[in-house]
């Protein structure tokens, strides 16, 4: 089927043998920085996952004495902060770093050195945060650390400071990355790669970039204000001196809700690349999926107070924010239905990447539906701050973002390393993950509905609670085993995986039009870009995609 044009460059010598460690430290290459992001977030994933296992062990039975309350509070705080700021976000940014320039036919990102700075800020902010364990005072006030619990009278130790400074540094790096990605997508696209032909992962990364630069500064500002309160005698969040504790919540969630979409839009982008390739059909309703992304991003700035329905903001405010939150379900639903329609009538190939992508659709739907129940204000009064919320956010962030990250790993690992991951181990990894996540997180809906609040280090045995908690702990254990299988797969395949070649999936986007791994300059030559699937056109000259695909 392959035609005369042969754009593939020669594979590079293995990176590890090239120039050693120094090469990785000094690099400004987007692919290497992308890999650094991914490896670092994988390391933090192991830390955050281990913390989760300890939490689940403590909650396995009522009245357990494994962890004292102070340690439990540190672990649940660090689990949340780590998974959100040092795993899901940077891993998605890592894929964006690696894949976006390749997907748009560019040589690198717009500002390679700024890119390196972002990575090192991310790494060192993570190390600063985790140094708190060695210093004996890890953050212990929860990932959204409500004032005034964080004010000096209630948190005199350095715990809050590690959290503050860690996030402050990391937020600066994240904002720089967002600017970098936006400029890259807007200015460095190959000839023919119009905005309407952008692969959906790039589309969603672009929108995420704007979300970051508009949302993240609210967090940075709030952190700076709290720092002023703690060290310069400020009173922003001190009600005794005329400050307002709710100001913190407004500022935090003005960042915090868009943050949720910062963590899910690129994941949706990965799934929007993987499903078409393994269903052997183009994405259904490209324009609607792209527009739905814009809709979600726009609405995400107008729903922050749904985290505050129990604050007592009054019926009018609650009603408006409830309605806005319900609206988000509409563009989200559009995406889910378009993924289903893409699969409909396809020839589905159940590679591990596809399994994870399909499971993403199934699991994210559960998280989305429980999210709608929370937009209904009176229901939220009953379930906010219970395990029902914990179930919801894990279906979105684990069943959603993390499954998409696994899908992306199985999909792009061959491009990154030149070798395929083992499909046999991959299937084990997938099924253990799928069983573990449902066993761990589904019962949390029920424990929440039986009145169990979140963030308690132990509990008295109320009817139903012990069984449900034990089930969740068993599920968490399965997830731990699944991660070990994944690590083994990575290690084994890196040495002995089957050689991938340039285009192992018979895919359609530009990253597969260069060697695996790609040369430093990415492309020796680019195929002509006349549609959203340039490699399809190249392989099927008799049946090119129409100039203006509908939908």
């Amino acid at each position: 089927m392959r035609t005369t044009e042969q754009p593939y460059a020669e594979p590079l010598p293995r990176l590890s043998s090239a120039e050693g460690l120094l090469h990785w430290v000094a690099t400004v290459d987007h692919k290497q920085i992308g890999l650094l992001y991914l490896l670092t977030s994988l390391s933090f994933f192991l830390v955050g996952g281990f913390e989760a296992l300890l939490l689940r062990a403590q909650l396995a039975v009522p009245g357990a004495q494994l962890l004292p309350p102070g340690v439990y509070n540190q672990l649940f705080t660090m689990h949340g902060v780590t998974m959100i700021f040092f795993v899901v976000m940077p891993a998605l940014l890592g894929f964006a770093n690696y894949a976006v320039p390749l997907l748009i036919g560019a040589q690198d990102v717009a500002f390679p050195r700024l890119n390196a700075l972002s990575y090192w800020l991310f790494l060192f902010s993570g190390l600063l945060l985790h140094f708190s364990f060695l210093a004996g005072s890890a953050p212990d006030t929860g990932w959204f650390s409500y004032a005034p619990l964080t004010e000096p009278p209630f948190s005199p130790g350095a715990n809050v400071d590690y959290w503050l400074l860690g996030l402050l540094v990391s937020s600066v790096g994240t904002i720089a990355t967002a600017i970098n990605l936006i400029v890259t997508v807007l200015l460095l696209r190959a000839p023919g790669m119009t905005i309407r032909r952008l692969p959906l992962f790039v589309w969603m990364t672009l929108v995420t970039g704007f979300l970051i630069i508009w949302a993240m500064p609210a967090l940075t500002a709030a952190l700076a204000m709290l720092l002023v309160d703690r060290y310069l005698g400020g009173h922003f969040f001190d009600p005794a001196a005329g400050g307002n504790v709710l100001l913190w919540q407004h500022l935090f969630w003005a960042f915090g809700h868009p943050e949720v979409y910062i963590m899910i839009l690129p994941a949706m982008g990965i799934v929007s690349e993987v499903i078409p390739v393994f269903a052997r059909k183009p994405i259904f309703g490209y324009t609607f999926v792209a527009a739905a992304t814009l809709g979600i991003a726009f609405l995400s700035f107008m729903v922050w107070a749904h985290h505050m329905f129990a604050v007592g903001l009054g019926p009018l405010v609650n009603t408006v924010f409830g309605a806005m939150s319900m609206l988000i379900a509409i563009p989200t639903g559009i995406k889910v239905f378009n993924w289903l329609a893409t699969m409909w009538g396809g020839a589905l190939r159940f590679t591990t990447a596809m399994l994870f992508a399909v499971a993403f659709v199934a699991m994210f739907t559960i998280g989305g539906l429980s999210g709608v129940t929370m937009a209904v204000v009176p229901i939220d009064w009953q379930i906010t701050d219970t395990y029902y919320i914990v179930a919801h956010l894990h279906y979105v962030l684990f069943g959603g973002s993390v499954l998409a990250l696994f899908a992306g790993t199985y999909y792009w690992f061959p491009k990154m390393t030149g070798r395929l991951l083992s499909e046999r181990l991959g299937h084990w990894h997938f099924w253990l993950t799928f069983a573990g996540l449902n066993l761990a997180f589904f019962p949390m809906h029920a424990s929440g509905l039986l009145g169990m609040p979140r963030r308690i280090y132990t509990y008295a045995a109320q009817p139903g609670w012990p069984e449900l908690n034990l089930t969740s702990t068993v599920g968490a254990g399965l997830l731990g085993v699944a991660v070990l299988v994944f690590l083994w797969n990575l290690a084994w395949s890196l040495r002995a995986g089957p050689p991938a070649g340039a285009d192992p999936w018979d895919a359609w986007t530009l990253e597969w039009a260069t060697s695996s791994p790609p040369p430093p300059h990415n492309f020796t030559a680019l195929p002509p870009i006349r549609s959203r699937r340039p490699l399809w056109d190249l392989k099927h000259p008799e049946q090119r995609d129409p100039e203006h695909e509908h939908g």
Partner: protein, 341 residues
């Protein structure tokens, strides 16, 4: 093809239902699905309707996925599928359909949103003479004040059945959240701000409520229990709570002496004695309460001893320090406090 998946699907459905609506829900002391007030009933009903709609969409999406996994698996020798780039009527359908469903849910939600946009939240026009109680959140216990009845107690909120009680929520330190799942939704307890709500139930009983906003080290043991009782019983309880602390007899006399000599008096009040501290719970009638340490221990003489001997072992981080009294002194103090009915 679907037959193969029917059994696992049915099993999964059964497990799901059983998890969502466990058989014990009705007997639950703290489940929103065992409502005991008009507000909680209305929310439970709205919740069930919303879950029903969500359940239909859930079944639709998961059913389609399972069907496609079975039906559209790639088969060797089959040609490439026909490329389809989209179909506008479908897009409009799955935009408008969910929008209509959500509009319906929104319409059902409106009547439950409360009526007084000026008030803090959810306070309908009040009967002026209604019983008022101020609930003050502390790290990590609840102070309860009945200004009109001249009663101050902790962690156990007695209310009469069949009449609305106006609750004012205040905080002495950080943010807490007041939540009685069987009586209604939660409302945060915020320093520098007073939130208000109504409590109302017709069913006598004990209703449990945990603090529902993370408030520091011992957030887990900040339990409130509401004891709803017939009006006559409630008034009898209030009359008894108004009394000064009972004078001690026997071994308890030594206990009282210890209480007044030690630093206990800096934090606790015993009405009718010189002890007038306001940092910790009022102990004038501590012996009449059901639990100690905001729910961490049942209130028995043995547990009172255990608590006084080493509160930091029972509830680490509690603001009550361990005093290292002799066993005999601890026993005397426990006897005194347990006798304060």
């Amino acid at each position: 093809m679907l037959g193969k998946h029917a059994l696992p699907a049915a099993l999964l459905g059964a497990i799901t239902l059983r998890l969502l609506f466990p058989p014990h829900a009705r007997a639950q002391p703290s489940s929103p699905f065992a409502p005991a007030s008009p507000e909680a009933s209305a929310i439970a009903q709205l919740f069930l309707i919303t879950l029903g709609i969500a359940g239909v969409i859930f079944l639709l999406v998961q059913g389609l996925l399972l069907y496609m996994v079975a039906r559209f698996r790639a088969r060797p020798g089959a040609g490439a599928p026909r490329p389809v780039f989209g179909y506008r009527p479908l897009e409009i359908g799955w935009t408008v359909g969910p929008a209509l469903l959500l509009a319906g849910v929104f319409g059902l939600m409106l009547p439950l949103m409360g009526s007084d946009p000026g008030a803090a939240d959810r306070v309908p026009s009040p009967p002026a003479e209604a019983l008022a109680v101020t609930v003050i959140g502390h790290q990590w216990w609840w102070e309860l004040r009945y200004p009109t009845l001249d009663v101050v107690t902790a962690n156990e909120l007695h209310i009469p059945v069949g009449e609305p009680v106006r609750v004012r929520l205040e905080s002495a330190d950080v943010i807490h959240s007041f939540w009685l799942p069987r009586l209604g939704g939660k409302l945060d307890v915020i320093p520098g701000r007073t939130n208000q709500l109504w409590l109302y139930t017709e069913a006598p009983g004990v209703y449990l409520g945990p603090c529902a906003e993370f408030c520091g080290l011992q957030h887990a043991w900040m339990l409130l229990r509401v004891i709803a009782q017939p009006r006559a019983d409630f008034l009898a309880w209030a009359a008894q709570q108004r009394q000064p602390a009972a004078p001690p007899s026997g071994a308890a006399q030594r206990g009282q002496q210890l209480f007044l000599e030690q630093t206990c008096v800096n934090c606790h009040t015993l009405r009718g004695t010189p002890a007038q501290g306001t940092v910790g719970p009022d102990l004038t009638h501590v012996g009449s309460r059901q639990t100690l340490g905001a729910g961490v221990l049942e209130n028995t003489p043995a547990n009172m001893y255990r608590w006084l001997q080493d509160p930091q072992a029972v509830k680490p981080g509690s603001l009550m320090p361990t005093f290292y009294l002799s066993d005999a002194d601890t026993a005397a103090l426990a006897a005194y406090l347990a006798g304060l009915k």
